[in-house]
Structure formats: structure tokens, C-alpha cells
């Protein structure tokens, strides 16, 4: 009798302990790669999958940009410039990304150009006036059940994006895990993106990216800017009349 009681008590305690230890949110920590269609990536703004509700003024700017650079085959990535939002979260040129998740902060590194994003939660957030504008903006996160919601502002004007935008753009990303593993047995992280920008668009634009987890995956280093310095060093040496050391 005592033994049965002991077993029941132990089982109850174990269940309670397991519930107490259960993470509040899904853990997205790990390396993720393209899960397949829709294959989004790169920085070109010439291949949006759907017609964009772009206003005439910005459209003229984007068309002028494309007319200028496309015949040359030039891209920002070719000059070692990071992709920026939303291109980074939509595939970053086909390279993988790594997520490191803590309760108060999530760090995301896109392998291409070692592009890094930091998503802050709650009290970790910086005051609005301290947020530095950039190609990936400033990101704040919160959870809605098992869905991670990331809101990004403080973006800079980027007409080189697939979804070109102004400095008034705001991006909302919603991340959730698919309930089932894919046919290769991998977890799949779905990212739904909505961009609103009253300067550029008459309506919100959206896109989706699916990432598959790479078990024990590692990002590779992506050094890119060295060539620019090598070329500059050659110029300096030439001007000084000495060989490159």
C-alpha cells in the first residue's frame, strides 16, 4: 500500500516538475537553411513574386535604379554590403542563418556578410531615441502563444531591396514552427513578413520564408571586405612608389 502510494506520489511530483521546467516558448536556437519554396533571397528588387502596390514616386526611383545597375550586373552584395531587411530574413541570398535564443534577447546571424540582428524583449529594449537606424533597423520581440513576433523600425531608405522601402518602413515578422517535421525529418520554421510603408506603398506587402533546421549545423565565416582594402593598399603603395608590402 505504501509502495503504491509512493509510486503515485513520485509520478505526480515528476509531472509537476516537468511542467515547471517546460519552456514557456518554443526554442528556435540553431542553424536553419532554406526549406524549399518559396525560394526568396538576394537583394534584387527586380523579381518580386507579385505586383507591388508601389506609389508612383518610389516606383520611378526603383526603375531608375534598376536601369542604372542591372545592365552592369551590379549588386550591393557584390560590394560586400549586407542584405538588410526584409531581404535578410527572406533568405539572405540562399545562405543559412543561426538563431541564439535567450528569454530577454534573440540574436540572429545571417551567414552572408556575417549580417547580425538583435531582437530585444521587454525591459531589454532601448528607448526610441537611442535606436540607431540601419539596413536591418531596430527589432523588438514578443510572444503571442508559440508565435514569435518581431517588430522592426528605424530602417533606412533601401531601393536595392526586393521589397524596396523608405526610412518610414516598419516590418513585422511572425515566426512559428510547423506542427510536423518535413519529409527529411527536419523542424521547419515559418516566417511571415508584412511590410508597411506609407511613403512607398498604398497597402501592406507580405511574403513568407520557410527555414529547415540543420542538426548540429555551423555557420561558416564570410569575410568579404578584405578585397577592398587590398585594392586600396595597392593604390597607396603605387602612389608612394613602393611595392605592396
Amino acid at each position: 500500500m505504501i509502495n503504491k502510494l509512493s509510486v503515485a506520489l513520485a509520478a505526480t511530483l515528476l509531472t509537476a516538475s516537468a511542467l515547471a521546467a517546460a519552456p514557456k516558448h518554443p526554442d528556435f536556437t540553431g542553424v536553419w537553411t532554406n526549406a524549399g519554396a518559396p525560394a526568396m533571397g538576394g537583394t534584387t528588387n527586380a523579381a518580386a513574386n507579385v505586383p507591388l502596390p508601389m506609389l508612383p514616386g518610389p516606383k520611378a526611383r526603383v526603375d531608375a535604379y534598376n536601369k542604372l545597375v542591372q545592365p552592369l550586373g551590379e549588386t550591393p552584395g557584390g560590394w560586400c554590403l549586407g542584405t538588410g531587411l526584409p531581404g535578410s530574413m527572406l533568405g539572405s541570398g540562399g545562405y543559412p542563418m543561426e538563431i541564439v535564443q535567450r528569454e530577454e534577447q534573440i540574436n540572429i546571424v545571417y551567414e552572408a556578410h556575417n549580417e547580425a540582428r538583435r531582437v530585444y524583449f521587454g525591459a531589454r529594449n532601448a528607448p526610441q531615441e537611442d535606436r540607431v537606424p540601419g539596413r536591418n533597423g531596430y527589432s523588438s520581440g514578443h510572444w503571442e502563444g508559440d508565435t514569435l513576433v518581431v517588430e522592426t523600425d528605424n530602417l533606412v531608405d533601401q531601393i536595392d531591396q526586393r521589397f524596396a522601402h523608405s526610412d518610414e518602413a516598419k516590418v513585422v515578422e511572425r515566426y512559428h514552427l510547423e506542427p510536423k517535421l518535413d519529409d527529411k525529418g527536419r523542424r521547419v520554421l515559418v516566417a511571415d513578413m508584412t511590410l508597411t510603408d506609407p511613403k512607398f506603398y498604398s497597402a501592406p506587402v507580405s511574403a513568407q520564408k520557410r527555414w529547415a533546421q540543420v542538426p548540429n549545423g555551423r555557420l561558416l565565416p564570410y569575410e568579404c571586405a578584405e578585397e577592398g582594402w587590398t585594392a586600396r593598399l595597392a593604390e597607396i603603395a603605387k602612389k608612394a612608389g613602393v611595392p605592396v608590402p
Binding site: G42, L72, T75, W79, C80, G93, T230, A234
Partner: protein
């Protein structure tokens, strides 16, 4: 003659290096539905980002001359079999390239067969244009 070729090669490499940054282009200028094998002697090779640099001395209907190529990032090359020291100046190699859409010489190196039978490449000798294009896109 060999000295002349060496001088020409050295000049071309210098020119290529001086314009190295400007040689980084989008993948859209290459036709990834085609794959053309080109054999030559390596006169310049650098595994760098965003694009690998390669100059081969080829001998074809135009005679002996230098042809410049670019290719995948170091990261994608390592993911597909390349390792440090595999390609050296003077090596005879055959590269499989996506040719330029404008018909110009050169192209985008998709894979390579090296002296001694070593092979590295994006999709193991098979032509998977969609995958290659996606991985090359924008870089």
C-alpha cells in the same frame, strides 16, 4: 614565346587584381541552364567572398590566351568539396561554367575537375540550374 605568355599573363593578372572589386557581379548575367567545360592552366586563383576569382590560360580556336572567371563564395565552395590548397597556379584544370548570356568569354564556375581526379562543385556534376541560380543569387 613562353616568356611572352608569362608577361601577358602577369599583366592580365595585375589588371584583374586592380579591378578585382569591380569584377563582382550579380549571377543574373550568367546562363545557369547551360554548363560548358573549359580546360586550361591556372594563372590566378583566389577563394574569396563574394566570388571566387580564377584566370585560366586556355588554348582554343583563338590560340593561347587568358580567360577570367568568377564563381561561388568561399562558403559555398567549402560546402561543396573545395578545401584550401586544392587549386594552385600552374595546375591544369577543367572548369564547368555557366556561360555569359552576352556570349562573352568566361563565365561562372559551377564545378571543377582538378589534376589527379579531384572534383568539387555545387551539385556533383549534375545540372541543377534552379539550385545553382538560387545559391549564386545576389552575391
Amino acid at each position: 614565346m613562353n616568356k611572352l605568355i608569362t608577361l601577358i599573363a602577369a599583366g592580365a593578372v595585375a589588371a584583374a587584381l586592380s579591378g578585382a572589386a569591380s569584377a563582382h557581379h550579380s549571377a543574373v548575367q550568367f546562363d545557369f541552364t547551360k554548363q560548358v567545360p573549359i580546360k586550361g592552366v591556372v594563372t590566378h586563383f583566389r577563394a574569396i567572398n563574394p566570388h571566387m576569382q580564377l584566370i585560366l590560360r586556355v588554348n582554343d580556336a583563338k590560340g593561347e590566351h587568358l580567360v577570367e572567371f568568377e564563381g561561388h563564395s568561399t562558403n559555398n565552395m567549402y560546402r561543396n568539396g573545395y578545401r584550401k590548397g586544392m587549386v594552385n597556379e600552374g595546375d591544369i584544370v577543367t572548369v564547368n561554367v555557366a556561360p555569359l548570356k552576352n556570349g562573352g568569354e568566361g563565365g561562372y564556375v559551377v564545378s571543377a575537375d582538378l589534376a589527379g581526379g579531384t572534383h568539387f562543385g555545387m551539385v556533383s556534376r549534375s545540372l541543377d540550374a534552379a539550385k545553382i541560380q538560387q545559391q549564386a543569387e545576389g552575391k
